[in-house]
Subunit: 217 residues, 4 copies
Amino acid sequence: MSTPAPALRSSGDDVETRERLLESAARLFSERGFAAVTVRDICAAAHANVAAVNYHFAGKLGLYQAVMRMAIARMQDATAEGQRAGEGLNAEGRLRAYVQVFVTRVVAGQQGWIHQLMMRELSDPTPALDLVVAEVLRPRLAYLAAVVAELIGCDEDDPRVMRATFSVHAQCVGLMGHPIARRVNPVLTSGPDALEAMVDHITEFSLAGLWALARRG
Amino acid sequence: MSTPAPALRSSGDDVETRERLLESAARLFSERGFAAVTVRDICAAAHANVAAVNYHFAGKLGLYQAVMRMAIARMQDATAEGQRAGEGLNAEGRLRAYVQVFVTRVVAGQQGWIHQLMMRELSDPTPALDLVVAEVLRPRLAYLAAVVAELIGCDEDDPRVMRATFSVHAQCVGLMGHPIARRVNPVLTSGPDALEAMVDHITEFSLAGLWALARRG
Amino acid sequence: MSTPAPALRSSGDDVETRERLLESAARLFSERGFAAVTVRDICAAAHANVAAVNYHFAGKLGLYQAVMRMAIARMQDATAEGQRAGEGLNAEGRLRAYVQVFVTRVVAGQQGWIHQLMMRELSDPTPALDLVVAEVLRPRLAYLAAVVAELIGCDEDDPRVMRATFSVHAQCVGLMGHPIARRVNPVLTSGPDALEAMVDHITEFSLAGLWALARRG
Amino acid sequence: MSTPAPALRSSGDDVETRERLLESAARLFSERGFAAVTVRDICAAAHANVAAVNYHFAGKLGLYQAVMRMAIARMQDATAEGQRAGEGLNAEGRLRAYVQVFVTRVVAGQQGWIHQLMMRELSDPTPALDLVVAEVLRPRLAYLAAVVAELIGCDEDDPRVMRATFSVHAQCVGLMGHPIARRVNPVLTSGPDALEAMVDHITEFSLAGLWALARRG
DNA sequence: AATGAATGAGCCTTCATTCAT
DNA sequence: GATGAATGAAGGCTCATTCAT
């Protein structure tokens, strides 16, 4: 946004300092949290000068916000992918596709740093969280709610839809605490087919719950 | 050792300094996190001297650990209450009782600070998390797994039990993020009967899922 | 001096707290120096309360001064012993006796703490050093100067006496740095007869120097 | 690394901050000792910021070590000067030259802070003392021992050499306590020719002692 | 754009001392 | 006399930020 377009450097391996800072910051902030990371840590990891963060991002906070904007963009990609995977399928298929995409992203994602960052935002909200809620969470849940409403067979405003949407969402997100889940029950997320089995389970378990709500009328 | 017999003070509001420190620290640590709280903040809130933390708890970390021990004790009380509430009931009743107790505690608890603290431990683990896992989480899930196994009608070691236990647990714990849930969908946890409805929903939704697993054999 | 005569305690092993404090303080101050020893260290070592030092000695400094007074008294004993050992002997014998007593005290003394303390006063003088100079050093050097003057055969005010007295004194005192001397040349002060040999050497070496001064007129 | 090429400053008295810190620290540490000097004192004296010590020397201890390294370098210069002054002379002349150089350096040196610092290391050793012993004291005494051995006329390993070397060394070093020596006997080191007289005395006194050892065989 | 020395606020901790019991 | 909780003044150090180059 406010970042000055940097002049391209001649040296080959010297990617833009700005990019290296973003990368290092994303990794470090997600690993240790905002407060526990020093500007010097980031600059050292990015092979940049101590003052680089202030120059490019107008301070530590500016860098954090840039990282969050990057994370939001990636999460919007994921939402799009979840919807694309369900295109052309019936409601049941769209539910399975949704669970499939998000569970895979959350647990096995090569972009695990994003969810670490989100965990931190949940427990220690910054103004950036509002953006996440508005631009990521709400659209995502709106899509899921539509699928759920079709499966129950009622209007999207029905309170049952909201609660059931929450139930499905909670099971997907619950794996985010998987460093702990792994400690308590390693079988859930470790092993070659564990993740596929988990996707099948959540889908089946949730469908049963949804049909029960449908029957109840 | 931990609580030297206190000489009775005349002034009413003047509880033992040690206790006041624990209280203030619990509140502040859960609100802002370990790093963002200064010893001076805590002492000011507790109307105590700056050096009091070091005297009574051998440093900021010692105070944090004492707070965590307190939190663990309260959570163990909750586990006990959850089990007591299910005594004499069949498996279905014990599941409902379990959900009832924990959802109530998590969302409406006058001890909300505990779950804030746990959220932070999840995203930013300290050595204390091991204690929480071993002394709170594992026993709690072991109890829930027994209930689940009876409802499915299979051995506790069955992989389906582990996954279904996770599904129930995730729905209860998912409410921990309710400051966010509330922003997305206020109806879930706000309002006079919202919580009761949520307990009913989770129980019904989960029972349907469990029965489906039972039918599948 | 200003110390209140303490009432004797009934309990047997409970020597007076005041004495235990003095002992512990003497050991700790000489081992680590005034600044590096905390009042709490001393009280812990003396099995006394934190406030005991202030009660008995009106503060840390008061305790240090009491320790120095004790040290001065012991050094005066040593001076007396050095003189007594030379009684009835000729000047040569009195010189040997003097060297004998002080070298033994300095190096092998069971009261090594005194010399450690004096080393510290030399490098980091406190007001107490004036007392040491006036009540210990000056009398001791006055006695030695008399012996030296007799050996040179001139008046005590002769500048040669002062310088020669210094030469003898310096050799005795030089062993105070013997932890370092030992590192450089272990043979000097280690081994069964090393100390006796050292006393003989200093005496012989110094007598030769003194006679040379005598010859020169 | 240790001395980055400094940009020339306009203001005259504004030497490089790093150098000013070293200077002030050398003076203050030698005057008051490590513990009694605060980082704030040093920075104030050097007209530098409180954080400068940490920036340039990674902490108070790092600064102290840098000061000690500086002291060691200066002492090695002195050793070299002592040897150079004796070049081409016979053993007697080399002894006199040695005494001359060190007595002058120790007492009248414009770098008196070095010996103050060494006094402190003797009474309160830090790891730096090992370095001093290895790189300064041992070479210096080795040189002196060679001179002494030639004067006695025996092998350098002879125990008499070690003891006589100590005797000479002790007389030179004994003047280090000269703030005290001056109090006891001001004539020794004060006055225009006092120092020259002292050098002559130590040389003559020691030569007589050495010849006595030589005669004894 | 980049560099790195310099800045000053602020943090945790230590310590001698005091005071009510 | 003894106790131990409480006090407040520093002290060393870290850190984000600025500034001259």
